[in-house]
């Protein structure tokens, strides 16, 4: 009797698993800095296409890791990178369905001050905060690895502050880590993403929106991958990504769209 129950259960699980295999499935790889936005996009996409929620699977990791996984044959249909470089490499590697990446979002850089810094809490953060050197450490993402880090470096170069501030730099491997350093108060000042300070509802005096003209555009590109060649869901998602619905969601999180 007990054997029968277990057997039926296993049969049920197998059937479940294979039904998922048969149904149309969309696997999306997304740069983890986009997680908040993507969760909302995913819901809106499923709703608008009346899909089974299980038919869309989203994996989050750093763009570099996702790039390496895709090169090793990871089963993703669409890749939303946090930069424009990795999609370009995948196109060069002949791993994409088309040769045209789609710029789905443009990130904005902010200089953000930790709440822990009591002495100068009253004055709003501006370019002058940086010039006056009113901080212990300056957090930023690693310019070698992250577009936000590169942008931060370009801003410092533009202000001719690179040499002066270098000793105070602490680098996160990505912009989330730069954010952690400031959020915990270990670094009093840091270059982070507008989307991050928006997500955590920071007061407007606490950050300076760096003019976009001071650094290269932080463009995030998406590509359809070879694996998706016969997958209509992948095409539908790329179309959805360029729709007005998507753009409204993306912009509400502190990104710009083209």
């Amino acid at each position: 009797m007990r054997f029968k129950i277990i057997f039926t259960f296993i049969l049920f699980l197998t059937a479940q698993a294979s039904s998922q295999l048969c149904a149309q499935q969309l696997n999306i790889a997304v740069a983890s800095n986009f997680i908040n936005v993507m969760q909302e996009l995913e819901r809106a996409f499923i709703l608008s296409k009346k899909l089974n929620p299980q038919s869309v699977r989203v994996s989050y990791a750093s763009s570099g890791k996702l790039y390496a996984q895709i090169k090793q044959g990871a089963p993703f249909d669409v890749f939303l990178s946090a930069d424009s470089d990795k999609p370009q490499r995948l196109i060069a590697d002949n791993l994409t369905a088309g040769t045209q990446p789609y710029p789905y979002a443009v990130g904005r850089l902010v200089l953000w001050r930790s709440n822990n810094n009591r002495q100068i809490l009253q004055t709003p953060v501006t370019q002058r905060t940086l010039l006056n050197g009113e901080y212990n450490k300056l957090a930023m993402a690693n310019p070698k690895l992250a577009p936000y880090g590169l942008a931060a470096l370009q801003v410092l170069e533009k202000l001719k502050l690179e040499r002066k501030t270098k000793a105070d730099w602490v680098m996160g491997e990505n912009v989330s880590q730069a954010y952690q350093f400031v959020a915990t108060g270990n670094a009093e000042l840091g270059f982070v993403a507008l989307s991050q300070v928006k997500a955590s509802k920071q007061a407007e005096e606490a950050y300076w929106l760096v003019p976009a003209s001071m650094h290269e555009q932080i463009a995030q590109h998406a590509v359809t991958l070879k694996k998706a060649n016969n997958n209509p869901l992948a095409q539908a998602f790329m179309l959805f990504l360029s729709s007005q619905t998507s753009k409204t969601i993306i912009e509400s999180h502190g990104y710009e769209t083209d």
């Binding site: 390496a68 822990n116 602490v170 996160g172 952690q180 350093f181 915990t184 108060g185 270990n186 670094a187």
Partner: protein, 231 residues
């Protein structure tokens, strides 16, 4: 040249960190191991569990809590501010404190096992011959538990060299201060500079193998099972 200046700096920093941590851990770990080996106090269970925690906790948990503890409002941060240090994050000594936690079981457990395997009898005999506590420790315990101490030192050193997740979270990747070899490798891999990553990674692999090889062959000779720490 296989290694550039940044690599050499990272290697030197890693060896320095591991040496300082091993030295401090032997000093802190020995009395702790002694107490754990000898006591029948009810606190033995909780303390043993605390010591072993880093074996099972993901480095992200340790790193995250250290980041909070180091912050100006945190426990360690408030303490360090008394000494004029705003935060220990992003500093060499911050890494030392993190590594003390992280490598503690690798030092305490081999020493504890070695002391336990000596048993009470030799110490009682030494005491009847008039040997005081420190006399007994240095002439009876230390020689007999020598293999345990060597294992503890080697494992503590090696484990600190292999530390990554915690340092990534609290270090801030500062060359010469917190940019250790494992972090440097990670940066190369993420930047797709695989050739440079290979050189450092292969060195790490070789180093770790040699260290473990030495530990296991010395243990084999002595016939004592010292590492029961792992899994």
């Amino acid at each position: 040249m296989a290694f550039d200046d940044a690599d050499l700096t990272a290697i030197w920093l890693t060896l320095k960190l591991a040496s300082v941590v091993t030295f401090l851990l032997i000093i802190i770990g020995t009395p702790l191991a002694w107490w754990l080996a000898k006591t029948k106090h009810w606190l033995k269970g909780p303390v043993s569990a605390l010591v072993a925690l880093p074996l099972v906790l993901p480095p992200t948990v340790i790193g995250f809590y250290l980041l909070l503890a180091f912050s100006p409002d945190g426990i360690i941060g408030q303490l360090s501010q008394l000494f004029g240090v705003y935060t220990l994050a992003f500093s060499f000594w911050g890494l030392v404190i993190a590594s003390l936690f992280y490598s503690l079981p690798f030092v305490v457990q081999p020493i504890q096992n070695a002391i336990e395997s000596i048993g009470d009898r030799p110490l009682e005999i030494a005491a009847t011959l008039g040997a005081g506590f420190f006399d007994r420790f240095f002439t009876v315990v230390l020689p007999q538990a020598k293999a345990g101490f060597i294992t503890a030192a080697v494992l503590g050193f090696a484990h600190t060299v292999g530390e990554f997740g915690v340092i990534l979270m609290i270090g801030g990747n500062i060359p010469g201060e917190t940019q250790v070899v494992s972090v440097q490798i990670y940066e190369y891999v993420e930047a797709l500079e695989y050739q440079k990553a290979h050189w450092l990674s292969a060195s790490m692999l070789l180093f770790s193998f040699v260290v473990l090889f030495i530990v296991y062959s010395t243990q084999h000779k002595k016939g004592i099972r010292l590492i029961k720490t792992e899994h």
